[in-house]
């Protein structure tokens, strides 16, 4: 469950990055549709956070340490909403570039989360 979510989130983050990158190429700021995309990704990350915490609560342990795992979960949760809020203050293509960069950061965090959780919960 957690692994599937992590993989799905990695893909979703890259898709969001490509989408917002495309908006930037066309010289557009982030629009309502982009924010809906960000919301979808954020809901997925929230689900991942909950599933991760529930797994910890039920006694499963990530391979590389619990503190690291929780820190990365929280970082992943914050990345896209923070970039989205920033893009509200910059209504140019640079807002879109920033969200794209935030989504890439999320994708990297998901790869790390996958490693940190390891095979323990597979």
């Amino acid at each position: 469950m957690l692994d599937a979510l992590t993989v799905a989130l990695g893909a979703a983050a890259l898709a969001l990055a490509a989408w917002c990158g495309f908006a930037a190429l066309r010289n557009q700021p982030t629009k309502d549709w982009h924010f809906i995309g960000m919301a979808v990704v954020t809901v997925l990350v929230l689900a991942q956070l909950v599933v991760g915490l529930v797994k910890l609560g039920s006694g499963e342990r990530p391979e590389q340490g619990t503190v690291l795992f929780v820190a990365y979960l929280l970082g992943a949760f914050a990345a896209v909403p923070a970039a989205g809020l920033l893009s509200l203050t910059e209504r140019t293509k640079w807002g879109s570039v920033t969200v794209a960069a935030g989504a890439v950061v999320l994708a990297v965090l998901e790869v790390r989360l996958y490693d940190i959780w390891g095979t323990a919960g597979a």
């Binding site: 629009k31 309502d32 503190v67 690291l68 820190a71 970082g75 990345a79 923070a82 970039a83 920033l86 893009s87 509200l88 203050t89 910059e90 209504r91 140019t92 640079w94 807002g95 570039v97 920033t98 960069a101 935030g102 950061v105 990297v108």
Partner: protein
């Protein structure tokens, strides 16, 4: 779609200040401050974790990580604050950061045995997609471009 507040209203909170500071966070500056914010969170949490749990294992890399984190915090704060003084201070710190990345990067390549664990700046920031070495260069270019616009 409703038009969202533009950049003017975003600075409205500081409008009461005696001399309005020049915004450094606009256009490409937003991306810059976002990346600095991300790397700051990364570096601060990394060094806090390392120093609190296993400082004795690798004191040198962990101290360098903490130093890097402080530099990142200061640059991010300066960029957000804006204004001529902050611009100059941030430029100096970007130069210090670049020096740090180059020195520590070279150090880790030449004398890897001094580094039982990695720092943010190891191998020129390879573990962080080379962002640590790219950021100060773009940062300095950006801050130079903003010179004299106060």
């Amino acid at each position: 779609m409703p038009d969202l507040p533009d950049t003017d209203s975003a600075t409205a909170g500081t409008a009461g200040a005696p001399a309005r500071r020049e915004r450094l966070v606009s256009g490409p500056g937003l991306l810059l401050v976002w990346l600095y914010g991300v790397i700051t969170v990364g570096a601060v949490s990394r060094s806090a974790y390392q120093i609190s749990t296993e400082f004795d294992r690798a004191p040198l890399p962990y101290s360098l990580s903490a130093l890097a984190a402080l530099v990142y915090v200061f640059i991010t704060y300066s960029l957000v604050r804006g204004g001529e003084t902050a611009r100059k201070a941030a430029r100096v710190c970007c130069a210090a950061e670049l020096t740090g990345v180059l020195v520590v990067g070279t150090w880790t390549v030449v004398r890897p045995e001094a580094f039982p664990d990695t720092t943010v700046w190891s191998q020129f920031g390879m573990g962080y997609l080379f962002i640590p070495v790219i950021l100060p260069v773009t940062g300095m270019l950006w801050l130079r471009a903003k010179r004299g616009q106060v």
